[in-house]
């Protein structure tokens, strides 16, 4: 034990020990010399005799070294130094290998970082794997976008929720929450804040302690004492970020109060009681505050739906808990209640990725479904992330194959050196170790550069995945947990692991192959070695893998181009959109007056061509599906199962958005309040519900039974892709917002559930228009601010963030794969030409034409390429179905893409083998034969 320690120390201190030994042996020599001289030898003879007696100093030093240190470590050091020297002598080879590996390792580390941060790392709440979201799944009333299973989800009814939280044993806690969006005036500026009204069990269930102050006491959910507020860390910074914020009161104002704030009482002071730590954003990233909100049954017994989250009890599974909840509910309602009986089926923009619940009565027996919070959050991006992971895996494989090929070629040319080392006594194990050391060193260098690349890659990823971050534009574009994505310790560990693994994978084959040098073969001609076949099959594999990636990238890119060039139905250039936040809480009619005045003044700005406002914009995820009732003669006919999406807009909206009128007229100044009701329907509605007749002049009825208002169809507008460029236009109709009744007795929907959206078409740049708009807003309200300022182009671009990111990333990976495969092919061809120089010389000497020689080389390269492409296409055909959910406008087996990729690869391969072919053709038979 003691000796082992001493040896380990000895390994580290060679220089000192060597010097000491040197001195000792010199003394020894001097003593020997003295002795021989005493015995009567002459000085020169004595020295020679002394040296003979002492033996080889170098040998003694080696033995001494071995004795004082750990041999294998010592060898490792020597191997490493030797490897470094060897690699430095071949800088070109080293550079190509290290960069190839760096690309492979870097891409893998970057994507692994994303996968780990998003899918693997648990959410930052204690025991977060037990947190589940609760949904009611109503079969038979499916909605969907044609991708994945169609399901209709609804949040949980409060009455059921109360019963479940009382009786359930599989659930440890149940908490409800609802989205609340409001305006707070901070330092004279109206500021929008998104938050959540939460039931008493919310904070205890999550188990996260506040950073400052406290969370809610159970009694604070009782109306009257519930005017308390907990801030998120980032919101706290806007209040100055110090502990004095506790006890401060804030008042919500409410020009955006509407659909998403029924828990909030405007103009009433709320006391700040606590601040949550950074990174706490439950249930969604936009959470900036929380207020207490008790789940309460509605007085008229209609279901009140709240989003629900629960913590599973020890040992409970989601399935078990769901079954228990179903039983509790069956017990509660003797018959299964179905549907909400909501007349106004306006659905909120889903704070989650779940489809909004909509309109009419539905049938079927609802079931509960419990989904782990993390799955729910990251589910939408999981398949794509796995596809990306597979893609970078393929890139790494190709890199390995390429490097293995290069190493094979190199070790082949190092045969002589290896044989010499074997001849002077290096055992096969020692040789394998030396070659493996070289491979590992290469992989290590590749890993270092790869990690650097990964940091850049993760930045690129975050850049590509960054969106406007607006929940009103749909969370489908927001990448979950993006702020948490980083190259962490796990990713570095992963990089290390794959570096070592790749080093072994690509290093072992050549090492084992050449560790048993066939001494005799050295003397013979090496070109008889079967290496080129191995190189050939490696290239086939490489081309096949690259083909698979290229096909995938081709599909994603084609799909993205189709998506980006699809006609959205409006003209997005030169249109600026925004909302105005006020410090007051106007009633709906007052809001309409504000909007009218504001837009009127905006029109006065010289560069403004037209300005409009409305309840929502294209791509804003606010769906207002209503059943369509037509007056036919004297009869009112409700079109069963044929809803339409209603848009409340100002008269210039269609013009400002550039939505064309295809028949009749648009809305005009004259269609104001008190005038005969008019409506413009879109082409989809005209084709669906008015097929075979002229819609213009017909009557649509608007409003609940008994309060129906007749609207005359005055025009037909073009279709707008309202809910996403990848979704077919839905039937819509446009009402002049001045004609929408605001009388509560009519149970009319709120005019501006999320505040009014303004749109301005102007020749000036967006910044100038925004400044002008801000100034006008301040004239009307001294604390007013603009929020969610974005051009329509930005909004359109935002909606295709993910497809763009997937296309770019897979495209980059495929480009790298293509380059590597072509380099690999070139390498193999060049090497085989070099090895066959003599044979080619003979052929030329016997009368072969240049053309024949070139054809010889090209034929082999084309054979390899064709085999690789065929294999790759076959693989791809089996694999592309995993891309189906990521594709728009083309099928996974798109023939054009497959053919295009094959043609491109064949062309690239021909180019790559042209240079070696030319070299072969220019072989001088005399030179070639003289080399013998």
């Amino acid at each position: 034990m003691r000796r082992l320690l001493a040896r380990l120390i000895g390994t580290a201190r060679h220089a000192r020990a060597d010097a000491e030994l040197e001195r000792e042996m010199a003394a020894h020599l001097a003593l020997l010399e003295d002795g021989f001289r005493r015995r009567g030898l002459a000085a020169a003879d004595a020295r020679a005799a002394a040296q003979r007696a002492l033996g080889s100093a170098a040998y003694a030093r080696d033995l001494h070294r071995d004795a004082r240190s750990v041999a294998c470590l010592d060898d490792l050091g020597r191997d490493l130094r030797y490897a470094l020297r060897t690699l430095r002598r071949a800088p070109g080879f080293t550079f190509v290998v290290v960069m190839t590996l760096a690309l492979g390792i870097g891409a893998n580390t970057a994507i692994f970082s994303v996968v780990h941060s998003v899918l693997i790392r648990p959410l930052p709440y204690p025991d977060s794997a037990r947190l589940v979201r609760v949904w009611e799944n109503v079969p038979g009333a499916e909605i969907g976008n044609g991708k994945g299973p169609n399901r209709r989800y609804a949040a949980m009814d409060v009455a059921d929720l109360l019963a479940v939280s009382e009786r359930s044993r599989a659930l440890a806690n149940v908490a409800a929450f609802s989205f609340a969006r409001a305006t707070i005036t901070i330092d004279g500026d109206a500021t929008r804040m998104d938050g959540f009204g939460v039931s008493p069990g919310f904070f205890p269930m999550l188990g996260v302690a506040p950073l400052v102050g406290r969370t809610f006491a159970p009694e604070e959910s009782i109306a009257g004492v519930d005017r308390v507020l907990v801030l998120a860390y980032d919101a706290w910074q806007r209040f100055g970020g110090d502990a004095r914020v506790l006890g401060r009161t804030v008042a919500f104002t409410g020009n955006s109060l509407g659909w998403f704030s029924d828990g909030i009482v405007p103009e009433v002071p709320y006391t700040i009681v606590g601040v949550m730590p950074p990174g706490f954003h439950f249930p969604y990233d936009n959470a900036q505050f929380w207020i207490p909100r008790a789940p309460a049954r509605s007085p008229d017994g209609r279901p009140v739906r709240r989003e629900t989250v629960a913590r599973l009890a020890d040992g409970a599974t989601p399935t078990l808990a769901a079954a228990e909840m179903d039983a509790i509910r069956r017990d509660l309602h003797n018959t299964a209640t179905v549907g909400d009986g909501l007349y106004w089926g306006t659905a909120p923009p889903p704070p989650s990725s779940i489809q909004p619940s909509s309109t009419s009565m539905v049938g079927g027996r609802p079931r509960y479904e419990l989904i782990p919070v993390q799955d729910e959050l990251t589910g939408p991006v999981q398949p794509a992330l796995l596809v990306l992971m597979a893609a970078v895996g393929v890139v790494l494989l190709i890199a390995c194959v390429n490097v293995a090929n290069l190493l094979l070629a190199r070790t082949a040319s190092r045969q002589r050196e290896i044989a010499v080392r074997a001849a002077i006594g290096a055992g096969p194990g020692r040789l394998v170790r030396q070659l493996i050391t070289e491979s590992l060193l290469l992989a290590g260098l590749g890993g270092v550069f790869g990690i650097a690349l990964a940091f850049g890659g993760v930045r690129l990823f975050r850049l590509l995945a960054t969106t406007l971050g607006r929940s009103d534009l749909g969370l489908a574009s927001v990448f979950p947990r993006l702020s948490e994505v980083s190259v962490d310790a796990a990713a570095l560990g992963y990089a290390l692991a794959i570096s070592i693994a790749t080093g072994l994978v690509f290093g072992l084959a050549p090492a084992l192959r050449h560790a048993r040098p066939r001494h005799a073969a050295l003397l013979r001609d090496l070109s008889a070695s079967p290496r080129s076949t191995i190189g050939g099959s490696l290239v086939v594999v490489e081309i096949a893998l690259a083909t698979v990636l290229l096909v995938g990238a081709g599909l994603l890119i084609t799909s993205f181009v189709k998506l980006a060039t699809v006609d959205p139905g409006f003209e997005p250039t030169h249109v600026l959109t925004f909302q105005v936040l006020q410090s007051t809480s106007p009633r709906p009619e007052e809001q309409r007056v504000f909007a009218e005045t504001f837009v009127e003044r905006l029109r006065g700005v010289p560069e403004v061509q037209s300005a409009a406002y409305g309840r929502q914009l294209p791509l804003v995820q606010l769906q207002d599906s209503l059943t369509v009732t037509l007056r036919r003669g004297d009869v009112d006919v409700t079109l069963a199962g044929e809803g339409a999406d209603v848009r409340f807009v100002s008269r210039d909206y269609l013009k400002t958005m550039g939505i064309p009128i295809v028949a009749g007229r648009g809305l005009t100044e004259a269609d104001g309040e008190g005038r005969p009701g008019v409506v413009v329907i879109n082409d989809a509605l005209a084709r669906r519900s008015f097929a075979g007749s002229t819609p213009v002049g017909q009557i649509i009825l608007f409003g609940p039974q008994g309060h129906r208002v007749p609207l005359e169809i005055v025009g037909v507008a073009g279709n707008v892709r309202q809910f996403g460029l990848d979704r077919a236009p839905e039937p819509q109709y446009f009402m002049d917002i001045r004609q929408v009744p605001t009388d509560p007795a009519l149970r009319a929907p709120p005019l501006f559930p999320v505040g009014a959206y303004y749109s301005v078409r102007a020749t000036a740049d967006a910044g100038a228009i925004a400044a002008a708009a801000r100034a006008i807003a301040r004239q009307l309200d001294p604390h007013a601010t603009l929020t969610d300022v974005a051009t329509m182009e930005q909004i359109v671009s935002n909606s295709i963030t993910r497809p763009r990111m997937y296309a770019v990333l897979v495209g980059v990976f495929a480009a790298v794969a293509l380059a590597l495969a072509v380099i690999g092919l070139y390498g193999v061809m060049a090497y085989s030409v070099a090895q066959r120089t003599r044979e080619i010389g003979v052929r030329v000497a016997l009368g072969a034409e240049r053309r024949d020689v070139m054809r010889l080389v090209l034929r082999r390269s084309l054979l390899l390429t064709a085999a690789g492409i065929a294999l790759g296409v076959a693989f791809a055909a089996g694999l592309t179905r995993y891309l189906e959910s990521m594709l728009f406008g083309l099928r996974p087996l798109d023939a054009a893409t497959f053919a295009g990729v094959a043609a491109m690869f064949a062309a690239a391969a021909t180019l790559a083998s042209y240079v070696p072919a030319r070299r072969a053709a220019s072989v001088d038979p005399l030179v070639a034969l003289r080399e013998e």
Binding site: A27, L31, A60, L63
Partner: protein
């Protein structure tokens, strides 16, 4: 090659011989030890004197001997090795073992004949 083999056979014994020499003669430098070995073996070329050094390193790393630089009577620098207390104990144990082993090998060799 053959030289290495000879030394390897000697290795265990060489340590023992060095320890024994230091125990009976007191502190010695490598040259003195080599001279003593040649004298005992009555064979001047029995070992390459450089091969003593690995044995010395092993013994020193085990803490059985300790080296220090001193002057010889002819006023030359030399590293003198002295046996330590642990070395003395080890020598007893090793000697004992050697005797037993030698006896066993002897017996086996005799019986085989």
């Amino acid at each position: 090659m053959s030289l290495v083999e000879r030394i390897e056979i000697l290795q265990g014994t060489l340590d023992l011989i060095v320890l024994r020499a230091l125990a009976t003669m007191g502190p010695q430098h490598a040259y003195g030890l080599a001279a003593r070995l040649e004298q005992v073996a009555e064979h001047p070329l029995m070992l390459n004197q450089g091969t003593l050094y690995p044995a010395l390193v092993r013994l020193e790393q085990n803490g059985w001997i300790k080296g220090s630089w001193q002057k010889t009577e002819n006023n030359r620098d030399a590293k003198y090795y002295a046996i330590t207390r642990a070395g003395t104990r080890a020598l007893e144990k090793q000697t004992d073992r050697w005797h037993r082993l030698a006896g066993l090998v002897n017996k086996l060799l005799v019986d085989e004949q």
